[in-house]
């Protein structure tokens, strides 16, 4: 949800302070000041300089800009390294580049969702322009060793970008101590509204603008600034920095409680991804022999909102590419469910889920031909 404090600071910029910050008059200029303040808050949140912050419309735009903007700056080199588990905002850009004649290397992951850094080392060539690897996976919550990867990539002088949309606000980020050249974040994961994002670009990084237009964002991203949303994002970053601790204590405890109880009460449940190196708020589980969309609809009827990696919910006809890349077995791939928690959740809500989820799974297993088959094979029927 959008934090109430964020909504509150945004409203005046629709009704009163609606001047264009690029204008020469005072009415617009006063808004420019507030935009600068918001930029400082975002910079502070990321451990960066304000001049390194570029506002965009969303995480997807930040990713597109980072990748295409870098490639445009190095036209003679045509190799990009990424992973098989990226968000489509990175993955589909790579697919598009592949069709345009670029060579794309997609690093694979193991059953825990973990990368093999030797595979990365072997993939780097003198033709490699960019390495783009997500900070934390949006489906499983698995966190990649970005700084370790950074050491490897930067030792070859190759540009290094990360999609940190899912990680921001949940784990500490400090660009001063980082080897990253670029980083993407999005407002809607930070309790700011949907429709605002940031691309962090380290000073001195070669970058060609993706959105070409006026001189906004120091010529790095054209387009009249989305003032109310920028102000909102500034506030959201300020809050996120303050709540980082709570995310890693209270929210982590809620997540662990929910996950433990689910595993306890529902047989044949698998956890997707490394249970140690992952975000504190994500529960990604798979229930064997039942399908995701059915589970989600029954949960939705009870006011519980979750997501799934099943084929029917993925927007294509195949289950999530992340689960496939991890080699999650067929018995479970279509039955995957993700719960994402935040500081706005409470234990009572976890208890509510724990009460209603097991009967839902059992109900669908009673309709499924494979559950009885499984019980028969186990001699339980």
């Amino acid at each position: 949800m959008v934090a109430p404090e964020v909504l509150e600071v945004m409203v005046p910029y629709f009704s009163e302070y609606y001047g264009n910050p690029s204008s020469m008059h005072f009415f617009g200029g006063q808004v420019q000041k507030k935009v600068d303040e918001a930029r400082e808050k975002v910079a502070d949140f990321l451990g960066a300089e304000p001049s390194e912050i570029v506002f965009t419309s969303c995480g997807t735009e930040s990713d597109n800009a980072a990748i295409l903007g870098t490639l445009d700056s190095y036209p003679e080199k045509r190799h990009v390294i990424s992973t098989r588990v990226e968000h489509p905002a990175v993955g589909n850009v790579c697919t598009y580049l592949g069709r345009k004649g670029y060579r794309i290397t997609e690093l694979s992951v193991d059953r825990e969702g973990w990368l093999d850094l030797d595979e990365l080392k072997e993939s780097l060539t003198d033709q490699t322009t960019l390495v783009t690897i997500m900070y934390a996976n949006n489906e499983t919550g698995v966190i990649f060793p970005i700084e370790e990867i950074g050491e490897i990539v930067k030792s070859k002088g190759i540009s290094f970008h990360t999609d940190a949309v899912q990680a921001a606000g949940k784990i500490p980020l400090n660009m001063k101590r980082s080897r990253l050249d670029m980083l993407s974040i999005s407002g809607h994961k930070l309790h700011a509204p949907k429709g605002i994002g940031v691309l962090y670009i380290r000073k001195g990084t070669k970058f060609s603008p993706f959105l070409i237009g006026g001189h906004q964002e120091k010529g790095r991203r054209g387009g009249t600034e989305n003032v109310p949303y920028i102000i909102g994002l500034g506030k959201a970053c300020e809050l996120a920095k303050r709540h980082l601790d709570e995310e890693n204590t209270k929210v982590r405890a809620l997540r662990d409680y929910l996950e433990t109880k689910i595993l306890e009460k529902i047989p044949n449940t698998l956890v997707n991804g490394d249970r140690l190196h992952r975000l504190p708020n994500t529960v990604s589980v798979s229930f064997e022999y039942v399908e995701g969309e059915s589970i989600l609809l029954l949960l939705s009827d009870l006011g519980i909102c979750a997501s799934s990696g099943s084929a029917c919910t993925s927007g294509s006809l195949e289950p999530s590419h992340v689960l496939r890349a991890m080699g999650v077995p067929f018995t479970a791939a279509h039955g995957s469910i993700r719960f994402s928690l935040s500081i706005y959740n409470a234990k009572e809500e976890m208890d509510y889920i724990i009460e209603h989820l097991p009967p839902i799974i059992q109900r669908l297993r009673d309709i499924s031909p494979f559950w009885k088959d499984y019980l028969k094979a186990q001699g339980k029927v």
Binding site: R103, E293, L297, D301, A311, E318, S368, K372
Partner: protein, 280 residues
Amino acid sequence: MWDYTEKVKDHFLNPRNVGEIENPDGAGEVGSLACGDALRLTFKLDEKKRIKDVKFKTFGCASAIASSSALTEIVKGKTLEEAAKVTNQDIANYLGGLPLEKMHCSVMGREALEAAIANYRGQKVTKEDFEVICNCFGVTDREIAHAIRENDLKTVEQVTYYTKAGGGCGQCHPKIEAIIEKVRKEMGKEVPPYKPERKKLTNIQKIKLIEDTLGREIIPALKADGGDLDLIDIEGNKVYVALRGSCSFCPSAEITLKQYVETKLREFVSDDIVVEEVRP
């Protein structure tokens, strides 16, 4: 968020005839865990050979469960001859309609019924009798042709909605187009044109088309086997490539180049293309 009719929601939340009949007269199963949907249908006949009792078990989404439930309600009391005439459209209509992307669930219903009736009659209709067109979802030419005929399908996209064929890697699209053309001709219906006239290409157009075909068709296929390919240069009708990954030390690399890469480029770009390997 799917826009489901009230009837679909009803049959999902309160499915009729869930279960498995012991010692059924007919039993049919289609789909699999891998596919993401599966239907097991069993029925029992009365003395007059009408379907007295019919039950289903389904693994799948709301549309799949609702389609199965609807199917059992439709066929109850019918003779086998009458039941055999039930189409996937009947199932969809019974439910007040299904989203286009979910039409394949109604097709699954009809296929399970067909399999159960064939089982009763002792007919063995196995997939081995037909050619598998779509490897991602294991869809045969017979299934595709049947869907085209029953639902007046014209495009590959529609075939995907009704059978899932072509919804994965997309490599079977040309084959599906060929089936559409063939079946629609047999039906006496108009065939949508899909192969544009081969215009003379300028150099720039040819280079772009070569790059495009490599990136869209050829390289993904090589990658599926751990291989890769780099485009080095294009001179006239000669395309110079370097094989990478497992292709670079594969004994069949020459065959891959000539029988696959060259053939594909000739199909999509120009008949006179010659592919040559550049070795470092």
